[in-house]
Subunit: 305 residues, 2 copies
Amino acid sequence: LSFKLTILGSSGALPAYDRHPSAQLLEISNTQFLIDCGEGTQVQIKNFAGSVLKIDHIFISHLHGDHYLGLMGLIFSQHLFKRDKPLHIYAPKGLDEIITLQLKYAKSTPAFDLVFHLINTKASEVILETDKITVTTIPVIHKIPSVGFLFKEKIKERRLNKEKLPEGLKPEEMVLLKKGEDILDEQGQILFKADEITLSPKKSRSYAYMADTRYTENLNQYVKEVDLLYHEATFMEVDREKAIQTLHSTAAEAALFAKQAEVKKLIIGHFSARYKSLEPLLMEAKSIFNHTELAIEGVTFEIEE
Amino acid sequence: LSFKLTILGSSGALPAYDRHPSAQLLEISNTQFLIDCGEGTQVQIKNFAGSVLKIDHIFISHLHGDHYLGLMGLIFSQHLFKRDKPLHIYAPKGLDEIITLQLKYAKSTPAFDLVFHLINTKASEVILETDKITVTTIPVIHKIPSVGFLFKEKIKERRLNKEKLPEGLKPEEMVLLKKGEDILDEQGQILFKADEITLSPKKSRSYAYMADTRYTENLNQYVKEVDLLYHEATFMEVDREKAIQTLHSTAAEAALFAKQAEVKKLIIGHFSARYKSLEPLLMEAKSIFNHTELAIEGVTFEIEE
C-alpha cells in the first residue's frame, strides 16, 4: 500500500524563482491528504497529475498567507466542479471565519459540506483517526499559533505464514491469528500459537511536517524515529540572526533536529527568496545529517512497505 | 506618453490550460493601475517584467474569487518588501473586511497605508481623478455587486505651434495659450488668438474594462467610442444558455456590444475552462466586429498618442 509525499510548493513567504508557497500532497493507502495550501496550490495539484476531488482532508499549519491563501480558490473550484462529498479542513482558529466571510460576499454556498476542525495549537493532540492512520499535531514555535503534523500508520495485523499455516483453518480463526491471538480447542488448550504460524506485522510508516518553526530541540520527542521528516529551513547559518528574529530555522538546525530525532530521512524546504541556488542549503544540512534532500516541486518521496 | 494594457490573466473562474484568473496592468503616463487581481497575480506581474511596488491603485470589479484572491498575497508581499507608500484599493463592499480579518489572524500590520475606497455598484461614479485621468465605474450586470471601469485621459492642453509662435512670449502667456485663452494687450485688445498660434490638443485616450457582465446593450452608453474595450466573453454562442444563466456573455455578444458602442478595438477574455483552443471564440467575435483580439497573457496593447 502506498505511502508517498509529493512536494507542491517549496518557497518561503515571498514567491521567487518559480518556487511556489507551501503545499504538500501526502498519499497513504490511496487516501490523499493536503498539507498547507499556499496561493496557486490547486494548479500545482493539477500540474503534478493529482486531483483535488480525491482530497477529503486538508491540514493548515498556521494563518500566514503563504500557507493557506490557495484554499479559498480551491474551495470555489470544488463548488464549480460540483463536488458532493465533504471536505474536512483542520486549522488554527480563524480560518473558518475567513472562509465563511468570503463565501458570504461571493454569495456562494458550496454544494458540499465544508467541515472545519479547530486545532488547539498549545498541545499535541490527535486530530484525525481513520482505520489506517492517526494524525497528531506538533506544537511548533512560530510568530502566530502554529502546528506541525505527524502522520502515522496504525499498528498493522500480523501476517499469516503460508509455509507454517495448518490446513483447514476457519476464516474467524485467521482473523484471531492476525490479531496475535492463539487458537484454542474446546477445552481451552492451545491448538496453534499465533507467533509460531504468523509473521510480525509490516512496520507502521510515519511522516512528520515541521513548518513553520524556530528550531527547538525538545520538539523532537514528537517525531522520534519517523521514516520521513520535513523540517523548514528558511535560512542558512550565515543568516541565523534573521532565523531567530523571524522564528524560522536554518538548514543546519533542521539537520541537527533530524539527527537528534534519529529520523530516517530529512526533507528541507520553505526557502527564503534570498537564495536562488538551493545547493548551498543542501550542503549545509548534509554536513550534519547526510540523509537530507531538498523539497523540489513535483518530486515524490516514497516510503516502501 | 504611455497608454498601454498588459494582460496578466485571461481565464474564467476555473484555471485551465495555463491560463490565469483575471488581472490586467494598465499604464498611463508611466503610472500603473492594476485591474482585478486573481490568484497568482503577483507572480504574473513579475513574469511580465512589472513591479508591484510601482502600483499605487488597484481596482477590483467584484468579489468572486477569480477576481481578487491574489490581493491578500500581494499585500503580504508588499509588507515583506517594506513598501512605504500608500496602496489604494477600490472595491465593492466586503473586501476591506476580508483583508482586515486576514491581517488580524496573521498578526500583521502593513508597514504602509492600505486605503480602501468603497465602490457604489449601483451607479456610474468617478472614483479616482488625477491631474491626467479620471476613472469612472460602469454598473455591469452580474450575480453579485459588480462594476466595470472606464479609464479616460482628461482633455489635454493645446500645443504651441512653433511655426506660428511670435517671438518674445512670456512663460505665463504660453500657459494661457495652452489653455486656449487669447493674449490681450493692456487695453484688452486681442494681441494673439490662441486658436491661430496653437494646435488642437492630442486626443484623450480611453480604456474600458467590462467584466464580469451579462451582455447588456444599454451599458454601451458608458463606453461610447473608447479606444480600447475589454469585454468578457466567457462562452461561445453555442453555450449562450449557460451565459444567460450565469450572467456572463458570449464572444458574439461582446463583439455586438463593441460594434454598438463604436469602439476602436475590442479585447475578449475570461474564457471558460471548457474551451481549450480560443481561435473559435475569436472567429465568432470577428464575424461581427473585426477589430477584435484575444486577451493573451503577456500581450500588451498600446494606444498611440
